[in-house]
């Protein structure tokens, strides 16, 4: 089951306590504010996770009750900054390699076979993948390993590359270096570690040349029209927990770009609790076993026709 947030150490340490009365209706209101603004959704049964994240921010801003903290998020002058800080708390620890095995499984068993079949019919044998908002690089290296593991089978005869972009220069430096400790590698098997990484120091591994040669790192602002216009021809875009920081107008703009950047039949993937509800209605929400993706249907796609 894909329940990555719960596996994060910080959440485990802050299970519901007596001071967090989850029946306090303010938590539902905070949940709704977070969902409305960021698109990150906590079902009622997972409110304790949100409460745990709020608890840290409540201590920081000295809010005594959830209701008081709700004020910080909704009526105070600093509400936008506070929401950003809360979102940072919510997404802490979300980044490690092979974080969404079901997403990769959907790619392997359903999505890639379809895309490859459609492209091969047109005579193309090249696949372009984009990690938009790659942070410190865990996602693009995961995708690189995933694709390389398929090169003898599904991707036999195909070439592929990964574009990894971020706005933050520090993140990009770290991503290019590709040095990771146990936390980032927690779900990476020994086999893959040996195959694609080299020892960096006692506690850390560094991505090897085969991985690095597949990935091109670049600084891109997702709302920068001039740059976004040129990133065409993508088959898959991954944009995890990035849009959550944008206002609705910017989200729509980025989605317009993503839609244009994708080839027909391509997919956009967001963070596992992110929703595009009321942000974009051109992408089709596609369900795969344990994963969802946003699909740009090919020209002439008629709803109801089974693929």
């Amino acid at each position: 089951m894909n329940r990555p947030i719960e596996t994060v150490e910080t959440a485990a340490k802050t299970a519901p306590t007596e001071t967090q009365d989850l029946r306090d209706p303010s938590y539902l209101k905070i949940r709704d504010v977070v969902y409305q603004i960021s698109g990150i959704y906590h079902p009622e049964e997972k409110l304790y996770l949100l409460a745990a994240r709020c608890a840290r921010r409540m201590t920081a801003v000295k809010a005594a009750t959830p209701s008081e903290y709700l004020d910080h998020l909704t009526v105070r002058g600093s509400r936008e900054a506070e929401l950003r800080l809360l979102l940072n708390e919510i997404t802490i620890g979300e980044t490690y390699m092979f974080r969404s095995p079901q997403q990769l499984e959907a790619l392997r068993s359903v999505i890639l076979p379809q895309i490859l079949q459609d492209k091969a019919a047109l005579g193309f044998k090249r696949l372009h993948v984009w990690s938009a908002g790659c942070s410190t690089g865990e996602e693009p290296y995961t995708l690189a390993m995933f694709l390389l593991e398929l090169k003898e089978t599904l991707l036999c005869g195909w070439t592929f590359d990964i574009l990894a972009t971020d706005l933050n220069d520090n993140s990009l430096v770290a991503a290019k270096a590709g040095i990771y400790g146990e936390y980032a590698l927690r779900s990476t098997s020994d086999l893959l570690r040996r195959k694609y990484f080299k020892t960096y120091d006692q506690n850390r591994l560094q991505a090897g040349e085969e991985l690095k040669s597949l990935i091109r790192f670049d600084r891109v602002n997702l709302t920068d029209d001039s740059k976004m216009t040129f990133l065409k021809g993508m088959d898959l875009i991954f944009c995890c927990n990035v849009l959550i920081y944008f206002d609705l107008a910017s989200k729509r703009k980025v989605m317009q770009h993503f839609y244009a950047n994708l080839l027909p039949g391509g997919y956009l993937f967001l963070g596992h609790a992110e929703s595009l509800y009321q942000v974009d209605d051109r992408f089709h929400l596609m369900h795969f076993p344990g994963a969802i993706g946003y699909w740009k249907p090919p020209v002439g796609y008629v709803a109801g026709v089974k693929r």
């Binding site: 076993p289 969802i292 109801g304």
Partner: protein
């Protein structure tokens, strides 16, 4: 002679099995009354005769999935759950008993998690889109796959192979059934539903949930349960394995069918509903394990 002719008498025989408790008939008669005039004392009395039913009603009434009431009495549980929900619980219990413990092909817990999940998603979706009878949606969701129980009892060994074949090929169960048995759980379920005198709407759901366009009665309900069923199978509440499928739910023919009578479907937040299913998963597993685990039943 078709395979269905072979199976029909076997299904009829189910009706006479001693494991079908006597409670169904009197309860159905009680519930035929107008909801406001149902004799609650009689319902409580009937439920109280059966310790499994008592346990299940109490567990459900105290589950956050149904609003959690902190109730300790059968009467309190029946009041908290409502008469319709009690009827669903009774039917679920009775159906579970038609399968001897050693005959399960798909294991009992997997099966009931799927049914309970589908019931919950159906009633939740019904409320979200303004379908007028969420309780009927719950019952239809719970019972839509009774044919799997019929196949389990009537074709035990063949059916184990059928399920194994579906699991290995990651294909839809009803397709695997069609290939190996020559009929699907929709057909065999419909025969049982007729025997057990389920309402026409629920019978339509049982018969057509994998072939929605063929249904004549209760088309919105059939479409709604079809979509819930699909969603559950895509979120670890399926038949114990993942089918290799990608589904555009809004492009499904059932979606268009449901849209005709429930236009609010177009505005439904599908991603959120999906995350709600994930959120409810632990409790669904816990409820089903508590009431359908063979040891739990044997201990009663």
């Amino acid at each position: 002679m078709s395979l269905l002719d072979v199976i029909r008498p076997r299904i009829r025989a189910l009706d006479a099995m001693p494991s079908v408790p006597a409670i169904v008939q009197p309860l159905a008669e009680l519930l035929r009354e107008d909801p406001d005039r149902v004799n609650l004392d009689k319902v409580v009395e009937l439920v109280s005769y059966d310790s499994t039913l008592v346990a299940q009603c109490l567990r459900m009434a105290n589950s956050p999935l149904f609003g959690r009431r902190d109730t300790e009495t059968v009467r309190g549980a029946v009041l908290a759950l409502g008469i319709k929900r009690v009827e669903a619980i009774v039917l679920g219990c009775c159906l579970n008993r038609i399968v001897p413990p050693d005959k399960w092909a798909l294991d009992a817990l997997t099966f009931w998690r799927h049914c309970l999940g589908c019931a919950l998603v159906s009633s939740k979706m019904a409320r979200l889109i303004g379908y007028p009878d969420p309780e009927k949606a719950y019952l239809a969701g719970l019972l839509h796959d009774v044919g799997i129980l019929v196949n389990t009892v009537t074709c035990t060994e063949e059916y184990r192979r059928t399920i194994e074949q579906a699991r290995r090929g990651r294909i839809r169960l009803h397709e695997s059934e069609q290939q190996s048995l020559g009929f699907t759980h929709c057909r065999s379920g419909a025969i049982l539903a007729e025997q057990w005198k389920f309402s026409l709407d629920v019978r339509a759901v049982i018969e057509f949930h994998h072939d929605v366009v063929k249904s004549v009665t209760a088309r919105p309900l059939v479409a709604l349960v079809h979509l819930s069923d699909l969603l559950c199978r895509l979120r670890e509440l399926g038949y114990g394995y993942y089918e290799a499928i990608g589904v555009d739910l809004a492009g499904d023919e059932a979606w268009s069918m449901l849209l005709e009578s429930c236009p609010a479907l177009a505005k439904m937040d599908l991603a959120r509903l999906t995350l709600d299913i994930d959120g409810a998963m632990d409790e669904i597993v816990s409820v089903v394990d508590a009431v359908f685990r063979p040891e739990a039943i044997a201990a009663k």
